[in-house]
């Protein structure tokens, strides 16, 4: 540096020796980089052994099950495993659309075998995912097939039910004969395949998922916004109040964490329902008439209010931890330099809270996107989120592949957002505490 007045501009003296080639060497002549790598290897190995138990735990309980679940979204062998002969025929005749005698024979033989093994229900369920109402077709055929099916098979099958001749059914069976399928993802995007196998929009009344994804992201965005609006001033107060008051306030902020989620959600029901406390107060104040009580629960409003409350601490805590580290002298400096308190806030204080805001927003958004209990309880039908549908597929329709596909898409969406955040703000700017 050429600043003659700067005593810090001292010349850096080289501690390690420089040889002719310019490579740094230690005192005994080894390349410095190599010596450094060796000395840090031990430390790395020890660190690895320290985290090994946790790593094993996470692998066993988290990574493996999730991987398996995701696998289910593209693999379902409910048909191919129990209808082996028909599956083999589909594979041998890739282009034939009209089933020949061999195909009918294979179908009859498979039905007979799987009826004996009592697996016909699984096969029916698999086809039922694609053509609702076909499960009974398989189970009743299975009942009749137990006594044996006599050739000619085509006529025998059509005798049982005209529907066996439906080309759409054959198209679906052909698709299901391959255990690997993208159909669940198509369905999750409200798409389906026509008889020729082209991807088309699902019928109007079956399009629910895209709408629900959009609603989930939109509501999560709103909830992130409301937690920010409510949480920012509180976090600021927490960070600037004297220790005793701020500790008390902090307890109030954390109080929701110490009460059961269910209790909190039910409390909102008591408050928000039409005959509830809030409506009573509004009526009493004369803001609304007794006949126009507001519908604030069992719809989107209910979901937004209850989830804002529940997720608020996740916004406040990262904001608080960042704000606490902002030295008050920055704002003072800005004021002494001539800035009004609003300018000092906008230009000096707020930008420094961004790492906390980013962390809080990301946390709240990701939690909200996957939230389940609260929307299920207070959301009514218009306040349901995508996770409620995932749960439905897990517990009611037992279409785990569909649940897995929806979950994978949710995960993908969140990862994309995370990536966007990284590009815009930088993940290293994230401060969680």
């Amino acid at each position: 540096m050429s600043n003659p007045l700067d005593p810090h501009a001292a010349i850096v003296t080289e501690a390690a020796g420089l040889d002719q080639g310019g490579m740094l060497r230690t005192a005994d002549g080894q390349p410095l980089a190599k010596a450094l790598a060796r000395s840090s290897r031990r430390a790395r190995r020890r660190a690895f052994f320290l985290v090994l138990p946790l790593l094993a735990f996470v692998l066993l309980t988290f990574v493996l099950p999730i991987g398996q679940m995701l696998m289910r979204s593209v693999k379902n062998d409910g048909f191919s495993a129990y209808m082996p002969q028909l599956s083999a025929w589909f594979e041998a005749n890739p282009d034939v659309t009209e089933p020949d005698d061999a195909a009918w024979a294979a179908l009859a033989a498979d039905l007979e075998a799987s009826a004996k093994d009592r697996t016909i229900g699984i096969v029916g369920t698999r086809i039922n995912y694609e053509i609702p109402g076909t499960r009974s077709l398989f189970t009743s055929a299975g009942r009749k097939a137990r006594g044996g099916i006599e050739p000619p098979y085509r006529e025998a099958m059509l005798d049982m039910d005209e529907e066996w001749g439906d080309p759409k059914l054959w198209g679906v069976m052909r698709q299901a004969s391959d255990p690997y399928t993208a159909n669940f993802y198509l369905a999750a995007m409200d798409r389906t395949r026509d008889e020729a196998g082209n991807i088309v929009l699902a019928p109007e009344e079956q399009r629910i998922y895209l709408h629900l994804f959009l609603r989930t992201f939109w509501l999560s965005l709103i909830i992130t916004g409301t937690t920010f609006l409510l949480g920012f001033p509180i976090a600021h107060l927490l960070a600037t109040l004297p220790m005793r008051q701020s500790n008390l306030l902090m307890i109030l902020v954390l109080l929701p964490f110490w009460t059961s989620l269910l209790v909190r959600t039910t409390a909102w029901m008591v408050l928000l329902q039409q005959q509830g406390v809030v409506n009573d107060v509004f009526v009493w104040l004369g803001l609304i008439g007794d006949g126009q009580r507001l519908q604030m629960i069992y719809n989107q409003t209910g979901t937004i209010i209850a989830m804002t409350h529940i997720l608020l601490p996740f916004m406040i805590l990262p904001l608080y931890s960042v704000m606490r580290t902002i030295n008050p002298s920055y704002v003072r400096a800005a004021r002494s330099l001539g800035a009004t308190s609003w300018t000092a806030f906008r230009r000096i204080y707020f930008p420094q809270t961004l790492p906390g805001l980013g962390a809080g927003a990301l946390l709240v958004f990701i939690l909200a996107v996957g939230y389940y209990i609260t929307p299920a309880l207070v959301g009514g039908s218009s306040g349901q989120l995508i996770s409620n549908l995932i749960a439905m597929h897990m517990t009611q329709t037992l279409n785990w592949s569909m649940a897995a596909a929806l979950a994978a898409m949710l995960l993908g969406g969140v990862l994309i957002l995370y990536w966007v955040y990284d590009r815009l703000v930088g993940i290293d700017n994230l401060k969680l505490g």
């Binding site: 330099l337 001539g338 000092a344």
Partner: protein, 367 residues
């Protein structure tokens, strides 16, 4: 002490009191008037209220009682951003999310200056502290001394008439600190600004200031230019706080005008100048600077009293020698003498007689 707002009084504290908790006064009746272009230092131990005074002047704390005048106008109700006072904070308070250039241009932006004028002023201010090349760096990429300069430039870039500095050099190492003291002083002389400077480093205060206000316990103990502060301390606190000092306890034996004869605790008599002594028989602490103590008879005034001293040890310090003596039962008495060719060698255990000019021994309040 009362403030005497002279013609050139630029800043006036008029009977200012400050309490944070409503129970104790942190600043007790502060009266101070600072002239235009003056370099005034507030010096005092930790917790004596220096920062509080500065914050009241800057507008970040309100005075509990009393008035603060700036350029003749009461500023008690003027918000900080309208006071036009430059301020350098102890931790510099450079905005971490802005570059050096943006930091400097901030005060100009909020004043609504045009872009070209801002550029020009920022460049000028950076050149003033020899930091022109660092315009695009962030504060975190600068050394402590460099940040210090930027903080200084930022406080000066909008041409304030008054600049406040709260221990601006506290975080720097000794060498850099001395260097920056010199630079700040040079800037002050060149720009003709008024500076109120807070420090608890007395060396810094002595080398830089036009006047020093020594704070203790929420009061100004003495307000004087550096030489008189050092040579004529007005009370025991100032004598003990500024520089090295010998304090001998005794009672006033005789008092004639400002000439006092003091009887020390072991019965010996010494001459002293009475400073805040009113009557005979009063207890006192006599303060003598170590370098004003003589031990060679030919250097002492002829009729002055001398007293017995026993050498305990002598420390060689290069330019001077520092002897620790046992005087009147106190064994922390220090005497400094020059290391000249053929200087008398003192050795531990040796008995000598020491004395001083009566003006150099100041009879102050007892501690």
């Amino acid at each position: 002490m009362t403030a005497q707002p002279g013609n050139d009084a630029f800043v006036v504290f008029d009977h200012v009191q400050k309490s944070y908790d409503g129970q104790t006064l942190v600043v007790k009746d502060l009266n101070l008037s600072i002239g235009k272009g003056e370099f005034l230092t507030m010096l005092g131990p930790s917790g004596s209220g220096k920062t509080t005074c500065l914050m009241m002047l800057a507008g970040f704390e309100t005075a509990t009682h009393g008035e603060i005048l700036l350029d003749g106008k009461n500023i008690n109700d003027v918000p900080p951003h309208k006071r036009g006072i430059g301020m350098v904070f102890q931790n510099y308070a450079l905005f971490p999310h802005m570059t050096v250039g943006e930091n400097l241009s901030f005060p100009l932006e909020v004043r609504g200056m045009s872009k070209s004028e801002r550029e020009e002023r920022v460049t000028r201010a950076l050149d003033m502290v020899q930091m022109g090349k660092f315009k695009n760096r962030r504060p975190a990429q600068l050394s402590g001394g460099q940040q210090q300069r930027i903080a200084l430039a930022r406080a000066l870039v909008f041409d304030p008439k008054l600049v406040l500095m709260d221990e601006p050099l506290g975080a720097l190492d000794k060498q850099l600190r001395e260097h920056m003291q010199f630079e700040i002083k040079a800037l002050h002389d060149r720009l003709g600004i008024t500076v109120v400077y807070v420090t608890h480093d007395q060396g810094e205060a002595l080398t830089m200031s036009d006047r020093i206000a020594v704070f203790n316990d929420g009061r100004i103990q003495q307000l004087a230019p550096p030489p008189s502060l050092y040579e004529q301390p007005e009370n025991s606190f100032v004598a003990g706080f500024i520089g090295e000092n010998n304090a001998l306890r005794g009672t006033i034996q005789e008092l004639q005008g400002d000439k006092a004869l003091v009887r020390l605790t072991n019965g010996e008599l010494i001459d002293a100048t009475a400073v805040n002594i009113r009557e005979r028989g009063q207890e006192t602490t006599v303060s003598i600077r170590p370098e004003r103590v003589e031990f060679k008879p030919e250097l002492m005034p002829r009729d002055a009293h001398t007293i017995e001293a026993k050498v305990r040890d002598v420390v060689y310090m290069g330019d001077i020698l520092r002897a620790r003596l046992c005087v009147a039962g106190q064994d922390d008495f220090v005497m400094k003498y020059r290391n000249t060719l053929g200087q008398v060698k003192l050795s531990p255990g040796q008995s000598i007689r020491i004395g001083w000019h009566p003006e150099d021994a100041r009879a102050l309040d007892p501690v």
